[in-house]
Symmetry: C2
């Protein structure tokens, strides 16, 4: 392939101007004639039967136009059809504080707000289930009647290789418990949707969704309106991070209220409601038992995870699998057993958040590896390099690894941060930590069935030289529109800013499954490349004929098709389009991408995990711990990321930095926590998301491995880097003060307690090592003991060095 003319260059993002100038129109910026304003009445109870729901007083309130309640949309809805367990609005029963119960449309927001208090709703409370432990008890009420045992939503048990033999052959064993606290996405833009049901019986909804296609499907079901009559338009997104990839009550309600009133209806959540909408990071209790040989080679891993899923399923099936599936792709593991349990509790449903399901186990694994390195006296960076899963291999759970750049990431990090030279050598209170991680480039296995493309795209060329790309991707700030424009521009030899991108519109663009699981660059990128390449062939043919120059000597770039050997010989892009159009007719081509067969296991439950390609990352964190106040300051996070090829290097760096920032927030302060079912911090004043001023210096290192199946070699870039940041910080804190924090977040409170400067009430003892889980209690006690573990092993390593 000739040199790339667009990809890999530091070009401006094609759609940044609108955001920079404030002219981007978010859903809440839309105002349609005769528009009504909607508001959701939400449950005040964590768990209760609805004994009365009378909207008559509210309906009579001047300015109220319509009210809908649960029974108006009786179908269950949700992202994964096989496990749908919620309705658009609660019917008969509420399962968390904040669950939507009714929706009001009124002439203005104030009126809708006033009318909320006029809805007569009465509850008969049920005992709320609020912890994983309680959810596992058989003697408490079921949140969902269809749960087969206790309040378990899903159990996964998978085993690969000979675990017993593995453990038997180990020279050294570790058995650690970890707890990862739940947290939420906290997007700057709160959720908003405008629905308009028009006189032609067609419904349009503009909403900041990450998954227009899935929403489309669920709207059909809930509203009883054929999909051909529904158009979903994904508006510019002021942050998604997975939090806008479920279909939401306000979306259904806005649509139904518009259908009822024949007027457009807007519903924008307020900040408190965004916390109830949630679908964020699951709290996960984890245990990892790992055997290693004296040389550090892993012999077996048994990983157990208990996920606190909140009141509904969301993507919970996928989350449960993900906690186990990707543990194997970074380091050689010859035997692996995974047990995962997701439970229901009476809290807002958890769902996917950046790093979906893999963040928590990666934290556990990388912290444990750090312990093993200490135990065995290895340099943690070198140790990881020694046990890497190789490129072009299969993991024990049958995942196909193509390109694999974690070794390069570690090398680059080492060179940049001098990790190995500094680790264990810094004064007390200063520390440096390292961790690796991996992520998928989209989920590879069937969403519908094997044969269905995951992404489709069409590309159209006009005789005026215009290029339009249509692809159902949702631009959620991650840069997908820029990616689509750049890939098309590269194929066709134009500039990205020449390309008109039509995305996130179910009527205008072919289906793309959505912006989740870091699938867009890989899958939609491949679809656009597929379409654009067909047109490229026609353009090259036309130019070859016109110039009488062999096709293989021609290259399209900078709006010309030029003879590689003689830059004076060229046809302009516009002329080539005109020539090709005369020959072929309208220049439009379709492209698709479906992942290849055979990229993952054939076993039951292999549906989540297999991806056509994996990204790899490693981070080094540098921290300072104030030994008097317990305050941990992260001074710098350096992250190296194998993204295959950086189609837009500046954008990849932005993703790495954004991920690192988010990981930093998760480990240092964020927590979605409850008291008796009530969210303790449903505001950005209390929820400890870092501001830009809190954020450490972030450094991004791009590692390219040119994946054979990625579009121009690209893989995932948006999620993976978060995963390595969190354990790197935890490991750095250990390096600074010799204390392991096997639970997140690492607050000053906990640090002080660990340093013996105060009691350990900051450590919720009951969370580490649950009762009722066999050998859990002992392990929990062990985990608690390790909090006061001193630096014996650290001394050992120094001696080895």
């Amino acid at each position: 392939m000739a040199e790339l003319s667009v990809l890999g260059k530091r070009l401006p993002k094609v759609n940044s101007w609108a955001h920079l100038t404030g002219s981007a129109k978010y859903a809440d910026d839309l105002f349609l004639p005769r528009m009504l304003y909607g508001r959701l009445l939400r449950s005040t109870q964590a768990h209760a039967r609805i004994t009365k729901l009378d909207v008559s007083r509210a309906l009579a309130h001047p300015g109220v136009v319509a009210i809908v309640t649960g029974p108006d949309m009786p179908e269950t809805i949700g992202i994964m059809p096989s496990v749908q367990d919620e309705t658009a609005l609660a019917i008969d029963r509420v399962r968390y504080v904040g669950e939507p119960v009714a929706a009001i449309a009124a002439i203005d927001e104030d009126t809708a707000f006033e009318a909320m208090s006029l809805i007569d709703v009465e509850y008969d409370p049920l005992p709320p289930i609020l912890t994983i432990e309680d959810a596992l008890r058989e003697d408490l009420p079921k949140i969902h009647e269809k749960s087969r045992r206790a309040n378990i939503f899903k159990e996964v048990h998978l085993s690969f290789g000979d675990l017993d033999a593995g453990f038997a052959s180990a020279d050294h064993m570790r058995d650690d418990w970890f707890f990862f606290e739940g947290n939420t996405h906290a997007p700057i833009e709160s959720h908003s949707a405008v629905a308009s049901f028009e006189g032609d019986g067609k419904l349009t909804i503009w909403t900041c969704t990450q998954v227009p296609h899935y929403l489309h499907r669920e709207l059909e079901k809930a509203l009883g309106l054929p999909r051909a009559k529904i158009r979903v338009v994904a508006t510019p997104s002021g942050g998604g991070f997975g939090g806008k990839s479920d279909p939401f009550a306000h979306e259904f309600a806005a649509c139904l209220l518009s259908m009822r009133t024949k007027r457009p209806v807007k519903i924008t959540l307020d900040r408190e409601e965004v916390f109830y909408a949630h679908r964020g990071r699951h709290p996960v209790k984890m245990r990892i038992k790992t055997g290693v040989k004296q040389d550090g080679e892993i012999t077996a891993v048994h990983f157990q995870s208990w996920l606190d899923g909140g009141a509904y399923s969301s993507y919970g099936i996928a989350t449960t699998y993900y906690t186990g599936a990707l543990m194997t792709v970074t380091y050689r593991i010859p035997a692996y057993k995974f047990d995962g349990v997701r439970v229901y509790t009476n809290k807002p449903p958890c769902g996917p958040k950046r790093g979906h399901g893999t963040t928590q186990p990666r934290y556990a694994l990388e912290c444990q590896l750090d312990k093993i390195a200490v135990d065995l006296g290895f340099d943690a960076l070198e140790y990881r390099k020694r046990i890497l899963q190789p490129a072009n291999s299969r993991t024990v759970n049958e995942l196909r690894i193509t390109s694999m750049g974690l070794g390069q990431c570690l090398d680059e990090l080492g060179a940049k941060t001098k990790y190995s030279e500094r680790h264990g050598q810094l004064p007390r209170g200063k520390g440096v930590g390292i961790a690796g991680s991996a992520y998928i480039s989209g989920a590879g296995l069937p969403i519908y069935w094997n044969e269905m493309p995951h992404s489709g795209a069409t590309v159209k060329l006009d005789r005026g030289g215009g290029v339009t790309v249509y692809c159902g991707t949702a631009e959620i700030g991650q840069g997908s529109d820029n990616m689509l424009a750049s890939v098309a521009a590269e194929c066709l030899g134009v500039r990205p800013e020449d390309v008109h991108v039509v995305s996130g519109d179910t009527s205008l663009a072919p289906v793309d499954l959505g912006s989740y699981s870091s699938r867009v660059t890989f899958m939609a990128g491949n679809a656009v490349k597929d379409a654009a390449w067909k047109l490229r062939e026609w353009l090259l043919d036309a130019a070859s004929e016109r110039l009488a120059i062999p096709r293989e000597c021609l290259v399209p770039a900078d709006r010309r098709i030029t003879d590689l050997r003689d830059p004076e010989q060229f046809v302009t892009f516009d002329d080539a389009v005109v020539l090709a159009e005369a020959k072929h007719g309208t220049l439009s081509a379709a492209g698709s991408y479906r992942p290849p067969q055979g990229i993952g296991g054939g076993y039951k439950g292999a549906g989540v995990g297999p991806s056509p390609a994996y990204s790899f990352q490693a981070s080094v964190a540098e921290v300072s711990v104030d030994l008097e106040t317990g305050v941990v300051t992260v001074d710098r996070i350096t992250t190296a990321h194998d993204c295959g090829r950086a189609l837009s290097p500046a954008n990849v760096e932005g993703q790495i930095e954004g991920s690192a920032y988010m990981g930093y927030g998760e480990i240092m302060g964020e927590e979605q926590v409850f008291r008796g079912g009530l969210h303790k911090k449903p505001s950005l004043l209390d929820y400890k998301i870092p501001t830009s001023l809190d954020t450490p210096e972030l450094e991004a290192i791009i590692v390219e491995t040119i994946d054979k199946e990625g579009p121009f070699g690209a893989k995932e870039a948006g999620e993976g880097p978060l995963n390595s940041v969190i354990p790197a910080i935890a490991n750095a804190v250990y390096d600074a003060i010799g204390v392991r924090f096997d639970e997140t977040p690492i607050t000053a409170d906990k640090v002080l307690a660990a340093l013996g400067k105060r009691d350990n009430r900051g450590m919720p003892k009951d969370r580490i090592g649950p009762e009722g889980m066999g050998d859990g209690q002992e392990a929990a006690n062990a985990a608690l003991r390790r909090l006061s573990f001193t630096t014996e092993a650290r001394e050992k390593k120094k001696a080895n060095a």
Copy 2:
């Protein structure tokens, strides 16, 4: 082909709801944030040099944001690249009263209006040229320096067959002069455009244009902005009729003002300005010399036309050719000579109006035929039937006739109106008249070059069952969106209302040349059919495979693909889409239409006239003339129209009725007339367009001939029916009072004069038979004499009957 499931049915128009409920957003309904309001300063002079143009005082006026003048857009622009003679705003010279000289953008309309008077403009007047006669004089100033002789814009001289021999063999000769007065489109919606130049350097213009593609091309030229950076969106049109098929000053000005101010700019013309924008029906002076045998067979025709084109070219080349080209397609003419001259005058430019160029000569020809029938004592209906050009033939000027339903039209009319029984038999003051006509289904010959498609379309199917059609056609109220939806629905077996139509958008849809010359159903319809048919094949394949039923037994209709032999055997459309998508990937196909080669003459100047198919019409008008007041009342117009196949019968009837209404207005009262260059009636108060209350009873008869090349057999339906109405009324007036009106409109004034009840000052003598045209004066005098011609021939016919 199996029975059609959509086409030919009386289904609701898919896009009518928006117009019916008022929710359609016309260009003037658009309001963008920070939008400015523009206004054009127009010339007060018919012909002058601009000696001073100082905008400084206006620019200083509070609220004025920018002003642009002619030199800011120095490129010549216009619809036909070869003869462009105007600039977006006048430079140095003005050529008609109302010509745009400068454009102001201000914070509101009032401010822009105020600022107009603050622009200091001084003119040095030149003698205005206001008549065809003056335009032909060599001694008067040239309006355009590049005119080679006098103020002649274009001369066309074409001769086919042996004219002299034809005339020599004639038994009877007629040599008649006619004058067709100019008139204008008078759309309900005045022209409006909103332009927005955005931060990404891209310009979007929403405008009620009929020709988004041509406007796109001219904007590139005038603004110096690549077409790939310009998006033209044709807004719903409140009437076009040809009057919105030029690129207009306000469109260029709105764009440039937006580029200068970085704010959206709206310019909406007021009603007076719409009269200056014009581009309407040319006043044409005509002479037809026709030889006939005793049996009525035509032996030769010599047709001469002088077109008063106003100040600029517009579509004038086409108009000039059209006055001659289509004379031959209705009746056998073995020898034909055509001389056409279009001149410049200092009046608003004339252009295309419904029936473009063919309306005036058709009036002349059909009135003359009526005279010949009278002369020879023939029934005018039977006479026409006897001399019909046959189907599947070539005319003397080499036009290819495919289907030809004029005979059927005449038959149906005769049966319906009892024309032959009633003509000549009604009491004095009552009359019945008949005329035939024809029109093109789009111009067949190259706009760019032979190989270029005239229409392109893409069709996309979604796994949700959605169908989207993309086609650059402009929906101007003629029903093109409905046509696109219906053709796609027929091909795919869905309902028109299931289809999402994306039209009139140069970024979203493939190129269609525009909504003019009745080309859309034929050309865009064929393009959509081409695209949709490819998808139909895939769907049929998938269904055949699934059902194990041979493909040829399957038919798609009503969202199912069904076994013709057993309606219980079917695959739903949605399922077929899913199956086909799994097999082929994204379901999107492109289609194109370019007219076939060899449909017209190879001679120079054959560029206008040849069409892939011709529509045919005939009208019978019934009139009452008040012999005291001279008032002519048209009681009823019945029009039969051969549209090939009526894809949407109700829409075709609407077009026939609309055409008849418009023709009625043109013959009975409308005139775009001037006094010293000043428009005499630039308001709907004075311009005599009929209201719905004035309108006679209109009856439409659809005649189907199933053209072999039309989409599902369809041909033109929007323009042709106007042409036969006008001469039918004139012929009916003759039948009522025995007076020929060889000029339009037929006003009460003229009728009274003709009846001898007042002097003939209503008849502008100088217009019939121009000085300076050889034998013109004599003929003119003859024409004037014929005004007092009594019913000698009429008596003769009666004797024959």
